[in-house]
Symmetry: C2
């Protein structure tokens, strides 16, 4: 049963899900999604990323259309996908501004990762494009702190950054600084109960849920299940709508 007309999964990798599964997502109410650039082996060439961006823009959005899902591509250089000639991919993004930068961020936080992140954030600021910023599983607190410092250093606009895959430890500081927080509901990340707790403690204003589903994760319906969970726990409908759809629509400027 679909308890909400429209759900926006703010972070998926649609390439890793079949058309059949995208159809099931739509049936479960997930009619909007951002498909984030990622390459499952470290690419040797920026050219691979450029063709990947084209694939997301042309092919993945089309696959979405076929099943009734509005897919917005998020284009960028993931910290685990940095090729040697990465500046060529950045040049492409400057010449072909994406609707969303993503996912960008830090994985281990070395100087190359920091350079790549800063370059992309500077470009996003210049172009006024919202950014999906990845935080890693390991050293999440430390890496989140580093990202927040970079954002401060760049005087990055609050309304252009969602820090994603937040944990119970990182969410508070992120919201305090005025950024949005992406709540990823997946084994090893947040549970439905964690989402409820965060929502109760901090309010719905700058939260958005996602599944991060893609090449390996099996949980492509986790946003829909979270919606059911929240409604069953008597969370106000307006708040559920905010975290499950409205906030993301506003933040990513998606109309429909």
């Amino acid at each position: 049963m679909v308890l909400l007309e429209e759900i926006y999964d703010s972070h998926i990798h649609s390439e890793g899900r079949s058309q059949k599964e995208l159809t099931e997502m739509v049936k479960a109410g997930i009619k909007f999604a951002n498909s984030c650039a990622f390459y499952p082996v470290q690419p040797r060439f920026a050219e691979t990323l450029i063709d990947l961006f084209r694939k997301l823009e042309e092919f993945e959005t089309e696959r979405g259309k076929r099943v009734g899902m509005k897919i917005t591509p998020a284009l960028g250089i993931h910290p685990r996908c940095i090729p040697q000639n990465w500046k060529k991919a950045l040049d492409f993004l400057e010449e072909n501004p994406p609707r969303i930068f993503g996912e960008v961020g830090l994985e281990e936080g070395g100087s190359l990762e920091v350079d790549v992140l800063k370059s992309q954030l500077s470009l996003a600021k210049k172009l006024d494009v919202p950014c999906i910023i990845h935080t890693p599983r390991k050293n999440k607190v430390e890496m989140t702190q580093k990202i927040l410092e970079i954002l401060a250093e760049l005087s990055f606009p609050e309304n252009l950054a969602v820090i994603d895959h937040v944990s119970m430890e990182t969410v508070s500081e992120i919201l305090k600084r005025g950024y949005h927080a992406g709540l990823t509901v997946e084994e090893g990340k947040l549970s439905e109960k964690d989402v409820l707790d965060i929502l109760k403690k901090y309010g719905a204003e700058r939260l958005m849920i996602n599944s991060d589903t893609g090449f390996t994760s099996l949980e492509y319906l986790s946003t829909s299940k979270t919606v059911s969970f929240l409604i069953e726990r008597d969370v106000e409908r307006e708040d559920v709508i905010r975290v499950a759809c409205k906030n993301a629509k506003e933040f990513f400027r998606v109309r429909c």
Copy 2:
């Protein structure tokens, strides 16, 4: 119910199927598959193909392992995926010989396509590597004829070529020339009944079935369904084993 212990789907694009669906394929008996190189938008760069080859070799085979499917990558330049600097991809294949070339072939049959096909076939002959040769939906008879002429011109070894997506019109000539024929069971290609008819008319010796499942096709279990259909129609078990597994295992030199 699995009616055959082992099925070999000789032509898929595993990238387009989720891990969940690969698991379902294994449960339906499909424990072997060739994952053919294809890029769903025409790549601008050979570099994209090189990283795609690495993705198939490293990531897709690993995804297969996780669910119990032996995935053999087929690497090559598809006639719809020819970048300007395609020779760089060919050089990569010469330096890193694949276990299978594929899918190569003709789509519209222009001179660039013919050049790319001949270069790859020459390399495959030199390296003694089996080839999966694509024939298109449109002008299938004409394009198949053109491919057969190219194979003859190159004195291409019969035991290295499977001509794929054959039709009722093309299969006879292909088998007469000594090549293997790939029977793709999918809407718009062959039906289960077509496979039965071909098998009865020509014998099982050089036939192999596949689904061509991938980025858009929904029919990822069609080889398993075809096996059930053939067994229900009282085809000899030895013949079903040949077209569903044994021929492909021998042709592609896959052991397990």
